[in-house]
């Protein structure tokens, strides 16, 4: 029972992180039609910013916030160099470009920071709650709380602000959106930056628990894709719910079947979903016109 609860909690923590990364991914997909394989690298960027800032004596919370900004700024550069020139091209070229960007960022980080994992100290490191035999480190609680707040904030931003409505309109019907004054080009820029910055925060948050290293983003990207496929490409609430589902699957597969095979199990679930319901399990099917 204790083991079950512990697995459940670990799954929720993972799920919260996946939701955050997938949220960025799905926003970008919705507005730009870009399947961004470089998404996880922005978590790496956020993680390393937090690492260096904490090392320089900056307080951890501030480091997290700056991680958000750094990921956003690098996101802007990447968008300008690797995606904006391809806006008229097909989506497959954009996807390949993002694969190239992903490898580039990983190699750059390996060159600049060495491939070894780095430990990030958070004031909450080492502290943990004991709930009837289940140990939860405070950092993990922080991850869940902040992720939840950010997901909620993004959701509210989309629902209740001018920017959010523009993003929704631009992803639903770009032509009509322009007719109502939505500057679709600027919106796609801003969405990309917001999307990768959210992932940057995820990186800064997970750093004290899982350490930071140049290749940390790859598995995050992959999981985020599974989440997004599960929740339906471009579906925001689907991404949040899907994140939790994938986190739980991974945690339980690791705990009860085999840690070695947990990724294979996650991707097998992905296969089944893709084949049976390619629109995602959380999206309603709509008729397709030829």
């Amino acid at each position: 029972m204790v083991e079950f609860a512990q697995t459940l909690v670990n799954g929720l923590v993972l799920g919260a992180l996946y939701s955050l990364v997938a949220l960025g991914l799905t926003l970008i997909y919705g507005v730009m039609g870009l399947a961004n394989f470089a998404q996880g690298e922005f978590a790496m960027i956020g993680g390393f910013s937090a690492f260096f800032l904490v090392q320089e004596g900056v307080s951890y919370p501030l480091a997290v916030v700056i991680g958000f900004a750094v990921a956003g700024i690098i996101g802007l550069l990447v968008h300008l160099l690797a995606f904006y020139p391809l806006r008229q091209s097909n989506h497959i070229n954009m996807m390949l470009s993002s694969l190239g960007v992903s490898l580039f960022l990983v190699n750059l980080a390996q060159y600049l920071f060495s491939p070894n994992p780095q430990v990030v100290k958070s004031p909450l490191s080492g502290e943990s709650f004991n709930l009837g035999g289940i140990f939860i480190s405070q950092q993990r609680v922080l991850i869940v709380v902040i992720s939840f707040i950010l997901c909620l904030a993004t959701f509210l931003l989309l629902k209740h602000t001018k920017f959010g409505r523009s993003v929704q309109a631009a992803s639903l019907d770009p032509d009509t959106a322009t007719l109502y004054g939505v500057p679709t080009k600027r919106i796609s820029f801003m969405t990309f930056i917001l999307g990768v910055a959210l992932t940057g925060i995820a990186g800064a948050l997970l750093a004290p628990v899982y350490n930071v290293y140049p290749t940390m983003g790859i598995s995050l990207t992959l999981k985020a894709f599974v989440v997004v496929v599960l929740g339906g490409m471009g579906n925001v609430s689907g991404a949040i719910a899907g994140g939790v589902i994938v986190g739980l699957i991974e945690s339980f597969a690791g705990g009860y079947i085999s840690t070695g095979f947990q990724d294979a199990i996650v991707f097998t679930v992905l296969f089944v979903v893709l084949i049976l319901k390619p629109q995602g399990i959380l999206t309603k099917v709509q008729g397709e016109k030829v």
Binding site: A169, D175, T176, A177, T178, L179, G181, V182
Partner: protein
């Protein structure tokens, strides 16, 4: 108010508009009638710059529109309701209306405009928090018009508002159009449904194969016969 001279445009290799000229005076409802496929929608999309002009000029209140991007038209007081009621299906009625309002907030009083649009289409108030995609066809058309209306346009461009609607709904939509014009908005209406359109418009153009083939100030059965000839090729 709107003056178009020798307009040509099209898609890829196909030139759809073969030199279209027309003008719209302030305060009137001008109808462009024609069967499907004659280039009516292309004409409107060219006016909004969703399709590039290949030749000819579009003047609106003395300003050349040829290079104004579609997203800036609202600032000039032009609102274009596209064909097929392109409402944002996964956004609520309220959100749809706010997309219209968002970009004109400096110019208009949002509450006033919302009240005006909802008075015209009270049904939308009942559906306020429903997703656009779940509305009936008629309600979607009303929403599309209302979404344009809240931007307080001087010129409202409507692309076939009757499409796919039952006759009784068409009538209520057109009554609303008439009311909008009476309140001082100039309207450019593109329609296939000539009978319904003739009831509301002040002046009419008939389009065929990318050209204006007929123009008239009279709205009676005689005109209908003429339009029928163009439509059904019986002439």
């Amino acid at each position: 108010m709107l003056e178009i001279q020798g307009l040509r445009s099209g898609y890829g290799d196909i030139t759809v508009l073969q030199g279209v000229s027309l003008n719209v005076n302030s305060g009137e409802i001008v109808g462009i009638l024609g069967a499907n496929g004659v280039g009516k929608t292309t004409l409107l999309k060219t006016i909004s710059n969703l399709i590039k002009t290949r030749a000819g000029t579009i003047n609106y209140q003395g300003k050349n529109l040829t290079h104004v991007p579609p997203s800036k038209l609202l600032n000039l007081g032009i609102a274009h309701v596209p064909q097929g009621r392109n409402i944002f299906s996964k956004m609520t009625v309220a959100e749809n209306l706010h997309v219209g309002l968002d970009n004109v907030k400096k110019r208009v009083n949002p509450q006033e405009q919302l009240d005006y649009a909802l008075a015209l289409f009270p049904k939308l108030k009942e559906r306020w928090n429903q997703l656009g995609g779940t509305l009936s066809g008629g309600e979607q058309q009303m929403l599309a018009i209302a979404r344009a209306l809240v931007t307080k346009p001087s010129l409202l461009i409507l692309d076939e508002p009757s499409m796919g609607l039952a006759p009784i709904i068409v009538r209520s939509v057109f009554n609303a159009v008439k009311k909008i014009a009476q309140d001082g908005t100039t309207i450019l209406l593109v329609e296939q449904n000539a009978v319904a359109a003739l009831n509301v418009i002040d002046r009419l153009y008939v389009m065929d194969m990318g050209r204006m083939v007929y123009e008239s100030q009279e709205m009676n059965d005689n005109e209908l016969e003429k339009i029928k000839e163009v439509y059904l090729g019986a002439g």
